[in-house]
Amino acid sequence: MLSAEGLHFRAAFFASIRQFFVSHDFLEVDTPLLSPVILPEANIVPVSAGEQFLQTSPELYMKRLLARGHHRLFQICPCFRSEEQGRLHLQEFKMLEWYHLNKNYDQLMQDCKELICFLAAALKKQFPAVCHSLDLAVWQKITVAEAFAQYVPVSLEKAIQNDTFDELLVEYVEPQLGIDGPVFLIDYPAQMASLAKLKADDQTVAERFELYINGIEIANGFSELTDAGEQRMRFREEITRLSWDTSMPERFLDELDEIDEAAGIAMGLDRLLMLFMAKTHIDEVQSFAPKER
């Protein structure tokens, strides 16, 4: 549980994020938390609420708003994912998502850098004693292929073939990332593209990245796949791997066709707050941790 000062710090953290995006001409939106349909992703298990689902991410509705021609959107909201609980996971957590029309993932990486540097300066100024100084001088990029070659005793091809990509990433790669300043792990294999667009000049990788600081994954961003036909095929594949029932998000797919190019990102705010407060467990930055409820 946060102390009184910690609660003030958390509030200032959220206020500074809003200040950043508003000053960069983003529109703050709020979209439904409760929805009859969610985007099917095999590894994300939703929390059911009656006949509907609590959102696992605001992505579906954020993109439907983009399709209506809004250029820059952001949202801070709770997200719910069943069965996720640990040092870096909560079943209910705070997500920041932002989207650009007509941009790609390079813009998002630039945004991350500006946002986190802005937050560091703003919070240090208001809370010099509480705010931990992060090493933000050098921001690096490394591709997934490079990271595997450098840190993992098994080749990336073998890892994908044997379905051990996640285990090897967690065991060998993640602990190395973001130790001497933030690192973007970029260009995920096409098999892990999720809702990302494949690279125009290399269809084996997707324009997707994860931001790591101190070995902790902070954000996942990508150039959005805007081809509704291709997206439908990927969803169909995901749906066969789901352990719950959901229907094809038809309205989403219909409106996705209206988007030419876009980029979007989801950032785990509790984890970023952990870094600024030098905490090691996500429970420590909550008003009420699960065990205190």
Partner: protein, 187 residues
């Protein structure tokens, strides 16, 4: 049955017919990836340790462990005999399976015995035991030769370092977790 989501530090599970205890645990889930349950485990019979990462669907059997309160009776030919205080059943455990515990076990002492599949695999002693010193070099009061401790032997045959003022016939308290002297006990 347990599933991977039940894994946590201290959970006792059975793998290939052997009991294991989870000694370290972390949940992780790389972006858009699988939920992973990373464990360090110790085989409760052999003491062997290993690390393994499990996924959501993995299932485990509960280790067939049972803890029973027993009274230590006596030892003969390296067999240590115990009696269940409720059922009066008697069992014995080989000396080598008791490890350092034999240093602190006195006749009639009550001990928790852990059984796997009905077979005893471990005992847990009280944290502190009081034992009588049977052999000690005499201490000349005022000796300032600078020795902070001296070795003594207690009634179980165990030898440990104690302050120089401890004498033969004294009762001393020993921490069974470390095997170290705690204090002299006045009757």
């Amino acid at each position: 049955m347990f599933t991977a989501s039940d894994l946590r530090k201290g959970l006792k599970i059975q793998i290939d017919g052997q009991p294991y205890i989870v000694t370290d645990f972390e949940f992780s889930k790389p972006g858009k990836g699988q939920a992973l349950y990373r464990c360090k485990m110790r085989n409760m019979m052999t003491g062997n340790q290993f690390s393994k990462t499990y996924r959501s669907g993995d299932k485990f059997e509960k280790a067939a462990l049972e803890e029973r309160k027993m009274q230590y009776l006596y030892n003969m030919d390296n067999e240590y005999h115990f009696m269940d205080v409720k059922s009066f059943d008697q069992i014995f455990i080989q000396k080598e399976n008791l490890g350092d515990n034999v240093n602190f076990m006195m006749d009639n002492m009550e001990i928790d015995v852990l059984l796997f599949d009905g077979k005893p695999i471990d005992v847990s002693l009280p944290i502190f035991v009081n034992l009588v010193v049977t052999i000690a070099e005499p201490w000349a009061k005022g000796d300032t030769s600078g020795n902070d401790t001296k070795p003594v032997t207690v009634e179980t045959g165990y030898v440990l370092q104690v302050p120089p003022f401890v004498e033969e016939g004294d009762k001393i308290q020993i921490d069974t977790r470390t095997g170290e002297y705690v204090t002299r006990v006045k009757e």
